[in-house]
């Protein structure tokens, strides 16, 4: 398959994610504090921040799971306040914690997710077969997911999150604990997905992975403290790595 160049996809008119002054408070605590950013179609956007900085709350708002307290946001062209159901149909989501039903087989998981997203039986069968074939999992498609090695489960979970061809996919620490080679293969599938026009928003605690993103943002205490390409950020802030920048921002001396 020949992915289209990112530049062609990125020239599309609307951004995949647009957030303006997006805010969420819990009682007296402001978890997300007026964040403004946009992600272009086909971009790989790294969404970084310390634990408790507000990433999860922001992602919950952008995926239509949590109503914002203020500001605005559109995801895949839909408003987070009024069109959360449309958003859910147009996004994919994968996290390390929970993605697949481990007692179900790979094929059963595909059928379940396909059914949830209203794919026809023919679509589920056709896309599922092709997915398993591409992943090299055809032979083990009828085994419970829990029997697969972690790296395989992660790849399968990513493919399942893309089954309904979402316009934006959210990946929450997708490579946590995975061996270094499998981690890199996973990033190649991210690139491939992005170059076919699907927008990717990804969180990670591996700072070397931040460097793989087209652009990143770093959240500190509910605000976006830095945003840009990894190269520009390092150059502007005079640091050698994103790891150093992260430490500088998250724990100012």
């Amino acid at each position: 398959m020949t992915p289209e160049p990112v530049s062609a996809a990125a020239s599309a008119k609307t951004d995949a994610i647009e957030a303006k002054d997006l805010t969420r408070t819990f009682g007296g605590f402001t978890a997300v504090d007026h964040i403004t950013f946009s992600v272009r179609v086909g971009e790989v956007f790294g969404f970084l921040g310390a634990n408790g900085a507000g990433k999860t709350t922001a992602i919950r708002m952008l995926t239509g799971l949590l109503t914002p307290s203020g500001g605005s946001a559109r995801v895949a062209g839909h408003d987070v306040y009024t069109e959360s159901e449309a958003i859910k149909r147009n996004i994919g989501y994968m996290s390390q914690q929970f993605s697949l039903y481990e007692d179900l087989t790979a094929r059963e998981n595909i059928r379940l997710y396909g059914g949830i997203y209203d794919l026809s039986r023919a679509q589920i069968r056709e896309r599922g077969d092709r997915m398993l074939e591409q992943l090299g999992l055809s032979a083990v498609g009828n085994r419970p997911v829990r029997d697969l090695p972690l790296g395989w489960r992660q790849k399968l979970a990513f493919s399942v999150a893309l089954l309904h061809r979402p316009r934006v996919v959210f990946l929450d620490e997708p490579t946590s604990g995975v061996d270094p080679i499998t981690r890199r293969q996973f990033w190649e599938s991210i690139y491939e997905t992005a170059s076919s026009g699907t927008t990717v928003l990804v969180t990670t605690h591996y700072m070397d992975e931040a460097e793989y993103c087209d652009r990143i943002s770093i959240m500190v205490a509910g605000k976006i403290a830095a945003m840009g390409t990894p190269a520009d950020l390092k150059h502007d802030r005079g640091v050698a790595s994103i790891d150093d920048l992260f430490v500088q921002l998250a724990r100012p001396a």
């Binding site: 310390a50 061996d179 270094p180 499998t182 605690h205």
Partner: protein, 316 residues
């Protein structure tokens, strides 16, 4: 130096899965020893055997001279163990959790204050807070405190920094440095390769086998061929192109660069640099720089691990 941990050919199966496939190593007294490998490598199984929570099928291990199978009860008083999953009581406060663990070992917070003070001082402002409401980094500090409260002679920490942000990870390692300076032997497992450099010695572990046991510097020094870092704005295109390059031995992304090794061990590094850059230009990839670079632990791990799980034919 005396030996604190001696592991001899440990084997542990779960059904048909070989969690540990003949593991041997020693840890000296006072060492900060790292067990580095991905999920499923066998780190947790190994630590659980060493703290007497699991029995091996074969092989032997002693900790502080006590056999982990036959001297289990003597050993339990002497080891501190922090489990991989957050293992505190979420509905108890910080102080109550600590009191509980102290009382299990027949002691009190006050009595052990000097041992835990450097860490507990960071938690004290939140001592009334429920453990469930702590941040990830703070939870880990509390778990460490609870593992130390009975003054163990040796400490086993299972992935204390997993899922914790880069800053909190650094802070946690600073705490471990402090404990090591006081002479405590510590064995810590982690999936983060970059944390290897915080250890005196490390074991690289993959699929139940040790790939190497040595100081981080020696492991890196044993990297068997020149390593090149390639920078280009078209990183993904360059990666795909170099996969098809006839001289490539390995090529993979690493942070902002691609890491490249050449098949030919005897070739001049300068010649390799020039040829790789020329090859990329011939494929239409411009703005390329190729430099010789120092390998990291992660490069060494990749070189030693061979075929990863996702490339094997026997997926399940």
């Amino acid at each position: 130096m005396s030996t604190s941990v001696a592991v001899d050919n440990l084997v542990k199966h779960f059904g048909t899965t070989k969690a540990l496939d003949g593991v041997s190593f020693e840890v000296e007294r006072g060492e900060l020893f790292g067990l580095i490998g991905p999920d499923g490598a066998g780190k947790t199984t190994l630590l659980r055997i060493l703290v007497t929570l699991l029995l091996p099928q074969s092989g032997h291990a002693t900790v502080l001279g006590n056999d982990v199978v036959t001297d289990m009860w003597a050993l339990r008083q002497r080891v501190g163990y922090m489990a991989g999953r957050f293992s505190l009581y979420p509905d108890l406060s910080v102080e109550e959790n600590l009191q509980f663990f102290a009382s299990v070992f027949g002691t009190t917070i006050e009595h052990e204050h000097d041992r835990i003070a450097p860490i507990y001082s960071q938690l004290e402002p939140f001592k009334g807070r429920r453990a469930a409401a702590l941040s990830g980094g703070m939870k880990q500090k509390l778990a460490l405190c609870c593992a130390l409260v009975h003054r163990p002679e040796i400490l086993f920490l299972d992935e204390p920094t997993t899922g914790v942000d880069a800053v909190s990870r650094r802070e946690f390692w600073d705490l471990l440095d402090g404990l090591t300076r006081e002479g405590l032997t510590t064995i810590v497992s982690t999936p983060y390769m970059d944390e290897a450099t915080r250890c005196h010695r490390v074991a690289l572990i993959q699929r139940g086998r040790l790939l190497a046991v040595d100081t981080p510097a020696s492991i890196v020094a044993a990297f068997d061929r020149p390593l090149f870092g390639i920078k280009t704005p078209n990183r993904y295109d360059a990666l795909r192109a170099l996969r098809e390059y006839e001289r490539v031995h390995s090529i993979y992304p690493f942070g902002e660069q691609l890491h490249y090794t050449d098949k030919d061990l005897d070739r001049e590094p300068r010649a390799i640099q020039r040829e790789v850059a020329e090859f990329l230009r011939s494929r239409g990839i411009e703005q390329v720089s190729v430099d010789t670079i120092e390998p990291s632990i992660e490069d060494s791990f990749i070189a030693r691990m061979g075929t990863p799980e996702t490339m094997r034919g026997d997926a399940a």
